[in-house]
Symmetry: C2
Subunit: 125 residues, 2 copies
């Protein structure tokens, strides 16, 4: 599919979701060929969930879909960037805008910012 190299991690490659406007990195997940094809076809970021062993359309539970505005790949074609519009404003399942809400301060990870939603509300059955 589109000449990408899925060989390095047993059929998966890392995919970075980056805010279309600000460039903030929102999350990193993995894609298999099917997830990439689904992303291109639907315009919605679709990953492969390693823990669940299946395709994962981001936002299918939370409603926080990622609308893909641009797709880039690197020199080795073994990583992709999705430039996205993040619906609901937050990518992280813990409620933060970005999954990268921890910053190294000396020897300690400190949290920056506040959750934008309550996961127990968004993910309740």
């Amino acid at each position: 599919m589109k000449d990408l190299d899925f060989s390095k991690f047993d059929g998966l490659l890392p995919a970075i979701a980056q805010d279309w406007e600000t460039g903030e990195v929102l999350m990193v997940a993995f894609m298999n060929e099917e997830a990439f094809a689904h992303t291109v076809k639907t315009g919605k970021a679709t990953y492969f969930s390693r823990s669940r062993g299946k395709l994962w359309v981001k936002g299918e539970s939370s409603g926080h879909e990622q609308m893909v505005k641009e797709i880039r790949t690197d020199c080795d074609k073994d990583t992709v960037i999705l430039k996205v519009v993040q619906r609901g404003g937050a990518a992280c399942h813990l409620g933060y805008r970005s999954c990268f809400f921890r910053k190294l301060d000396g020897e300690t990870w400190i949290i920056e910012g506040e959750p934008l939603f309550d996961p127990s509300e968004v993910y309740r059955k």
Copy 2:
């Protein structure tokens, strides 16, 4: 080391180098615990080269080092972001500022931008 989860890819985790000022994603590589510790200690981005099977201080051949201004990790602590100042202005071994110089245009990857250096000059023995 600093509570990171290196278990998911046989002792490695993905590391994203992002321009400290612009937020542009420059490259993605992998770190083992030793590479992470070396990065924190020296302030220079250090990865684990899967192809060479050893520690790789970015820029050790080219001089294009990455000076680390900030380190972030995600909700699962299995991925890191390095916010860096890219010496020489280009991170990619092909001479481009970013390794992500290819953009999907319909069915085709198109190249954006021009190399900033000639790899045959920079990497000659």
